[in-house]
């Protein structure tokens, strides 16, 4: 493959419950073995977003040509969130924003997130989060949710984490009809036919490869794209070209920093 491979979804830091260590060497070893050129990395483990974002920068500073920092923001501390995003994005050079509403107990279309989205909208950046939550109100649809968000924040590019690892018609249709909405592939289940389904229903331009490293192995997660029954060009787009476009990276065709 002579096109770039970009992992759009990964995490820095330790998660002892699952035996995940903050081990940059292991990260790079797995990336090398998987053939991943660059990994977008965030840290969502800390209530103090600044601490997590600083930890991300340890990885980025260790291998700036391999890691792309992603800023975490939490509405638990609304007085800090936008200020921290300013620091993380404009001070540290992070490329997009990760939120984790599961920790907040309210879905990603809750108004508590709107100050974050307003800021992201001004920057014309991407936000990645789950598309559905255990505490969603009855009748919630992904398309309804992201249509409302896209209408309100038209310059945000929304990445629905994990959705391309499943066969979810609502998610795929949402990505198909909303130009600023994308799907991402990582999932602990390698659902039969998921990549094929999402390429068919959402389109090959709307799917991004992600691994969920270091919880999941990039080699195993990339395999669901590599071995999918889809055209070669679709694989190249999912594995990196779509992320390049989404993040407006214009670096060398393979390897090096933007």
């Amino acid at each position: 493959m002579d096109t770039p491979v970009i992992d759009f979804h990964s995490h820095a830091g330790s998660w002892g419950r699952y035996g995940v260590d903050a081990d940059c060497d292991l990260y790079l070893k797995v990336m090398d073995a998987a053939g991943v050129d660059r990994t977008c990395i965030n840290c969502i483990w800390f209530g103090d977003a600044r601490r997590g974002n600083d930890l991300v920068m340890e990885y980025v500073n260790r291998a700036p040509d391999r890691f792309i920092g992603v800023a975490f923001a939490t509405p638990h501390y609304p007085e800090e969130s936008v200020k921290e995003l300013e620091r993380a994005v404009h001070g540290l050079g992070m490329a997009y924003v990760k939120i984790y509403p599961d920790y907040f107990g309210r879905p990603n279309d809750d108004p508590a997130y709107f100050p974050i989205y307003e800021w992201v909208d001004e920057q014309e950046m991407a936000v990645m989060c789950h598309a559905t939550y255990p505490f969603d109100p009855p009748g919630t649809t992904i398309q309804g949710r992201f249509t409302a968000l896209s209408d309100r924040f038209p310059n945000v590019r929304w990445v629905m984490a994990h959705t391309a690892g499943t066969l979810d018609a609502d998610a795929a249709e949402t990505a198909r009809v909303l130009p600023n909405v994308f799907m991402e592939t990582c999932s602990s289940r390698t659902a039969l036919g998921a990549t094929e389904f999402n390429v068919e229903h959402a389109g090959e331009d709307k799917v991004l490869y992600g691994s969920d490293m270091a919880l999941m192995d990039a080699r195993q997660q990339i395999a669901k794209v590599v071995t999918a029954d889809i055209p070669r060009r679709a694989k190249e787009k999912i594995l990196g070209l779509n992320a390049m476009r989404l993040l407006r990276l214009d670096g060398p065709a393979k390897g090096g920093a933007a």
Binding site: R17, Y18, V20, V30, D32, R189, T190, L215, A223, T227
Partner: protein, 261 residues
């Protein structure tokens, strides 16, 4: 073994034998592939030579009916090896043993989490004794989910206390998810007659660490088809940097050995 970084034309470099596939319809949802022809087509696409298959109906409702249906579904297809599901709480050991021997079944699966029994010798002891004497390995799923049954975890302490009493029996822990990665490695270290099938073992570098930890002779490729695709975990195994001997063992040799093939 040297492999290119990303191989869009991947084919397995060693014979592959899937240690965890299901064959037949499910009661709780329509799966994408539910017959032998579909399974064989997907095996061909993934480059897998053979598969050990069980019937979901045998797990979810009735082992005898499901096992009989499995043999019917397999027919004369030599690439598919039947695995019987046994429920030691209600099945008759003598009858099941006769069916196993008549069909030359080389592996058995028990699902204590679905069948609601403790995996203790006072429930399963007689069965494990028989399996041990016949050299038939036992598969134990770490959990088993249906859409009407909560996929409770296997009790690792019960497995430990029971399996250690049958040192000549090979037990294969299967469908181990990352949420069970806290207890699976120490259980494997503690029980030399325990192996692991890795269809759901996706934790970063987890399989490589397992292989280092417990030796490659006890780690087996499985797909969990048709819930999951066959090829991805096989691709993953080819990226672990294993030497050819170990790759052959993990991708199929260990299973062939256990099944006396």
């Amino acid at each position: 073994m040297m492999t290119p970084a990303v191989d869009l034309d991947f084919r397995p470099e060693v014979p592959a034998f899937d240690a965890n596939a299901a064959l037949g319809r499910r009661h709780d949802r329509r799966v994408a592939v539910d017959d032998a022809a579909g399974l064989l087509a997907e095996m061909d696409r993934a480059g897998v030579e053979r598969a050990l298959v069980y019937a979901p109906h045998a797990a979810a409702f009735d082992s005898a009916e499901g096992n009989a249906g499995l043999l019917e579904a397999i027919g004369d297809e030599s690439r598919l090896m039947p695995q019987f599901v046994c429920n030691p709480t209600f099945d008759d050991l003598d009858e099941t043993a006769a069916q196993i021997e008549a069909a030359d079944v080389r592996a058995v699966r028990m699902v204590p989490t679905l069948h609601h029994y403790p995996f203790r010798s006072w429930v399963v002891g007689e069965w494990l004794e028989w399996l041990s004497a016949r050299g038939i390995p036992l598969w134990l799923p770490a959990s088993y989910e249906t859409n009407w049954h909560d996929g409770a975890d296997l009790d690792p302490h019960a497995v430990h206390e029971t399996v250690r009493q049958f040192p000549d029996l090979t037990v294969v822990l299967c469908e181990v998810h990352y949420v069970q990665a806290s207890w699976a490695p120490p259980l494997l270290r503690s029980l030399p007659n325990l192996s692991i099938e890795v269809s759901r073992y996706v934790i970063a570098d987890g399989i490589a660490r397992l292989i280092e930890d417990v030796d490659p002779g006890r780690v087996m490729f499985g797909s969990r088809f048709p819930e999951q695709a066959i090829a991805p975990q096989l691709y993953h195994l080819h990226r672990l940097g294993l030497n050819e001997t170990d790759l052959r063992a993990v991708c199929g040799g260990n299973l062939a050995r256990l099944l006396r093939m």
